[in-house]
Amino acid sequence: MLATNHRALAEEKVQLDAVPFELSTVHVALERFWSAMDCSLLQTPDERWRLQFATAIAEIAANVIRYAYANRTRGGRIGFRLRLYQDRVEARFTDRGSYFSVFPREPHSISTDPMELPESGFGLAIAHTALDQLRHHRTAKGTNVWVLEKRF
């Protein structure tokens, strides 16, 4: 069920280049957002809840950085926005890169044999597990939009 839209209580927006070291920009923006949330709400989620959200954000950020402009030599820009609502937090990534054709996978069970564990390809499943909603769509104008929601 989609969360109803309420007025945002706080917002953080940054633009970043699609390069791995810009993950730091994402982390810094998230820390500012947590500070804004602490000032905006009487009761705030605990550290574990925040780390789950942060982990999901990092996975999607890495995904977008890796793949959005992979077929271009000059890279591109990524928009990152965080919003606080009364009942949830929402993160949004946007890029004008390639069409993203791998849709978020549902969490899958992991092998109990360490030698059979995957070494990659499970980032989206992590994000799925950590969030209440993970959505992706591409606009008519060619913008990829990732929306990450976690409810209180």
């Binding site: 791995p20 993950l23 780390l51 992991i110 109990t112 360490p114 564990l117 990659s120 499943a125 992590i126």
Partner: protein, 111 residues
């Protein structure tokens, strides 16, 4: 990401990581772990106390190091995961597959 290799006189090798283990650093850390195994450090304890953040690529680096160690007849153990590391291990259920040791000493025991 800082990487320090500390061979232990009583057996085993402690690898201390400091920083974020993510898309930026994971390939290098995996390379270092595999090299350590190739250099004869088959019984490894990775101390995550100072690792502030791990993503799936960081987990992949640890898994890659574990596989290299086991193929060489050894093992790789995880010690002192900080809170975010615990979160991602739980999200992936890797905490059911890989034992997370509360201290380096306990992880070294039995090597």
């Amino acid at each position: 990401m800082d990487y320090i290799l500390e061979p232990q006189s009583g057996g085993g090798t402690v690898v201390r990581l400091d920083g974020r283990l993510d898309l930026v650093s994971s390939a290098g850390v995996k390379q270092d772990l595999v090299k350590a195994v190739g250099d004869g450090h088959r019984h490894i304890v990775v101390d995550l106390a100072k690792v502030t953040f791990i993503d799936s690529s960081g987990l992949g680096a640890l898994i890659g190091g574990l596989k290299a160690a086991r193929l060489a007849g050894g093992d790789l153990r995880i010690a002192r995961p900080a809170e975010q590391a615990r979160v991602i291990f739980e999200l992936t259920t890797l905490d059911r597959v890989l034992r997370l040791y509360p201290s380096v000493e306990e992880a070294l025991a039995g090597y």
